[in-house]
């Protein structure tokens, strides 16, 4: 358990900390369309903050407003305490890594990286030194004389990163930084990005539609939909304690059941669902009245599947038959059909090697599902 008064890794918990980026009731309209709808956001120094959402949710517009390519229709953006509304992009202490990388095709790697330094009127020797250092860091020293079209996707991405970082910005904006890379390269780059961020202490703001990317990279995530934030929190908070069905479904997958609260105690609630016909005992209280309609979300990996009825005691468990199996190697996903035709997804690690090539559970086997009282989440919206 970390020391609650030590906020170095969690500046957003520190009541004393001043946010480095402050977005204050910002909206952006394009004609009739509202891309960003009156949002507030505080990002602290050294954070790796992700804006996560599907296409058209407003995350890119928000990023472009931070960079200065779009001006807010209303509201204010402060960076390091300075109101940025009338500051043009070329005067902001921010650099951006574009999704397309936007490398200058008529300049070689070296000139691309040096471009920003030249604009600041830095002396030639210092430019060379800083470009050298940066190219060494992203391991592109031997490619310095190449033009962008002579590089692979991963190399281009590193040039773009070097070009944005060489100016030592206070904030680095990354627009879908890994989207153009293949899976293996993406995983490596993810960790590289985290290392660089750690080394340089730059505040990163990442836009992504990839929830896995957001989960791995971020200190905190803001889940966006239709121009608003659905939830802002650490990856764990967002995954384990989603505040709405939308967030629960967007981050990972969840079994979602509708029901009514039949008992609302201080340390537990009981929700009666029709489909599946089952009572959920949940060990956290909720602040709504008995009899209200709610949803219960249970993550597939939090459900235990068994062919024996050992844990089957009527509380938080249900019987069904295996409807479908997906064998993924390290784990299997099961789709279990209950007596009232409800489908429940379960993932289970394949701990033991199947005997004689037979799976422990097969199609149409009768199975018992159970979960802990702490596993399910009650959602009201």
């Amino acid at each position: 358990m970390p020391d609650p008064s030590n906020y170095t890794d969690r500046p957003w918990m520190d009541p004393e900390a001043e946010p480095f980026i402050k977005v204050q009731s910002v909206s952006k309209h394009f004609g009739d369309f509202t891309a960003v709808d009156n949002v507030d956001l505080e990002i602290y120094k050294g954070e790796l903050f992700s804006l996560l959402g599907g296409s058209g949710c407003g995350k890119t517009t928000l990023l472009r407003m931070l960079a200065g390519f779009e001006t807010p229709s209303s509201g204010y953006i402060f960076i390091d305490g300075v109101n940025m509304n009338d500051v043009p992009p070329y005067e902001r202490p921010i650099n951006m890594m574009f999704q397309s990388y936007a490398l200058f095709p008529h300049m070689n790697v070296e000139k691309n990286v040096a471009y920003g330094l030249r604009r600041d009127g830095i002396a030639g020797d210092e430019i060379n030194q800083r470009v050298d250092d940066m190219l060494a860091m992203v391991e592109l020293t031997q490619f310095r004389k190449r033009k962008p079209h002579q590089l692979s996707g991963g190399q281009r991405q590193r040039v773009a990163l070097a070009r944005a970082l060489v100016k030592q910005p206070k904030v680095l904006l990354l627009d879908e930084p890994l989207a153009a890379l293949d899976k293996r390269l993406r995983e490596n780059t993810q960790f590289e990005l985290m290392n660089i961020q750690d080394q340089l202490g730059v505040t990163f703001v990442v836009v992504t539609h990839d929830q896995e990317e957001a989960m791995t990279l971020s200190t905190r995530i803001a889940v966006m939909d239709a121009g608003r934030f659905m939830q802002i929190g650490t990856p764990t908070e967002i995954y384990e304690f989603p505040e709405s069905r939308l967030v629960a479904n967007f981050i990972g997958s969840a079994n979602m059941f509708q029901g009514r609260i039949t008992e609302n105690g201080p340390d537990h609630v009981i929700v009666q669902c029709k489909q599946p016909d089952c009572e959920f005992y949940i060990d956290h209280g909720v602040s709504i009245q008995e009899g209200n309609k709610v949803w219960v979300a249970v993550r597939p990996e939090k459900i235990t599947i068994s062919s024996e009825a050992s844990d089957y005691n009527g509380n938080n468990c249900i019987k069904g038959i295996v409807h479908d199996i997906g064998y993924l190697g390290k784990l299997s996903t099961y789709r279990v059909k209950t007596a009232d035709e409800t489908l429940i997804d379960v993932t289970s690690p394949n701990l033991a090697r199947p005997k004689d090539g037979n799976l422990a559970m097969d199609w149409d086997d009768e199975v018992y599902l159970s979960w802990e009282a702490s596993s399910a989440v009650v959602l009201t919206k």
């Binding site: 070329y90 397309s100 200058f104």
Partner: protein
Amino acid sequence: MIKQSLQRNWKSLVVFVPYFWLLIFFLAPFFIVLKISLSEATIASPPFLPMTEWVDEGVMNIKLVFDNFLYLWEDDLYFNTYLNSIKISSISTIFCLLIGYPMAYAIVRADETQKNILLMMIILPFWTSFLLRVYAWMGLLADQGTINDLLIALGIIDQPIRLLYTQFAVYVGIVYTYLPFMILPLYANMEKLDWELLEAAADLGAKPAVTFITVTLPMTIPGVIAGGLLVFIPATGEYVIPDMLGGGNVLMIGRILYNEFNSNIDWPVASAVAIALLLVLVLPMMLYQHVQAKESEAK
């Protein structure tokens, strides 16, 4: 197999047709003109002596007369006219670029519906005859023309100023006529420009003017060169505009060519003038091609 070779034949046929066209209507006439330029002038029809002559059984004399080219070189008139033509077309090209570049840029940046209307307006003048448009300029620039009338009516001048039959009128005519040939290739080039590059430059601290010089301009150089050549080459050989708007006061090579052919009936010298003009125009084009080839090799 048969189908494949048939397809290949089709392909070569498709390529062959334009080549055949160029051969018949460009290369063959070129050699005829080249031949005439190396012949001796005479008063006959056609007005030059044959190049070949049978002197003996099985012996043919080929006579190449380089006099015509030497004549061009020795007489200042021709040299100065070439220089003047190049000067006028160069300055016109620069003006077309200065006017056309911002126009092309504005069209590319306009929204979709406006873009089509603006492009339409660039192409619209082609719907009336070129000659009619030059006549219209004569009407505008004449001493009792629209512009002088207007300036007098406004009290800015009390005597008509001489506009028609001056160098100025020739520049106006050439820039007006060839402006679309500058705008369209520039537009085509700028349309492909990745606007995110301009954002990236701004993001890295470049003010708009610096972004223009370091990113926009280098990226649009191919369009500038294409548009420049499309204006410069026909403007250098232009005959109608200097003749109608410049009167006798502006000598360009097209005028000389016309005079040699029709007034002096000296076809060999006229052909030499044409060949020399071709050389003047082809050399910069080849240079450009060479640079382009080198650049694409580097890619």
